[in-house]
Symmetry: C2
Subunit: 163 residues, 2 copies
């Protein structure tokens, strides 16, 4: 019936609005959510359940002040690997994401092969991480740091127009 890739029963306006709202505040009651959208709570609940079952909603997460987790320094590290083989990429990615300082790992196309999003207690700990953890690895050819001074982030993403 549906292709293997686009087996998603296309989100309508209501689904979009629900998803939007739950990105903004995932703990609002189903009742409030329904009222805000002008539909019955039971209808709303069923929609949310389906979105969850379809995998559109992947989960609900608390956003925590990084400082409360002793993460006052943030950086993006770009690395080049050698040799650039699938096994090396996979194992490097798997090893890095396990480290507590590492928030995300991206395999990228560009001048470098990896982009690693890191947070640490302070500059000293960041430096220690780079020297003791990262550059220690044999597959790391070079790395380059971008330390974050300021940032602005969205917490809710709208649906982009089709094509």
């Amino acid at each position: 019936m549906f292709g293997t890739l686009a087996m998603v029963p296309t989100m309508d306006e209501l689904d979009s609005a629900i998803v939007q709202e739950l990105q903004r505040d995932a703990r609002q009651t189903n009742r409030d959510l329904a009222r805000h959208l002008g539909i019955a709570p039971s209808t709303c609940l069923e929609r949310v359940r389906l979105l969850r079952a379809r995998g559109v909603i992947r989960g609900y997460h608390a956003e925590i002040d990084p400082a409360a987790l002793n993460r006052r320094v943030e950086a993006f590290i770009s690395t080049r690997l050698r040799p650039l083989k699938r096994e090396v990429i996979d194992s490097f990615k798997a090893a890095l994401i396990k480290l507590p300082e590492v928030m995300a790992v991206y395999v990228v196309a560009g001048d470098e092969d990896f982009l690693v999003h890191v947070t640490a207690q302070d500059l000293d700990h960041l430096h220690a991480f780079l020297i003791d953890r990262l550059s220690q690895r044999r597959e790391v050819l070079t790395f380059r740091s971008q330390i974050v001074y300021q940032s602005a982030q969205k917490r809710a993403y709208e649906q982009l127009p089709e094509a």
Copy 2:
């Protein structure tokens, strides 16, 4: 009493565990959360409230499948600005974060001045964004793209040891 910076009444083990759990699943009932931690629901509720009031918990957000939002291509764009004045930085940051494709903007130290996290429908739209939106701006001296092939991300961050 407390300094202006560290006015946070230091999180104990219980707070840590709560924060950890709510990062993992922000919609679990207070009852389940309490049971998981081995405390009374009312105790748990009070702790969560305080964490929220203190700003440790900043909010609760649904995580959405990017594909459902027509965001199938992801990239990090590094840019150099000119002139590098405070007003230019601030206005560039403010303008970019408003664009629907832009998920986050980071002012960084390094070879470049800005790092922009972008998602778009496909490569064509990403390219259009770079050409029509980004390089159009007079303050953009150069930009460099890192297109994401794969990624691994954490959704829950543990508290790092003090020092």
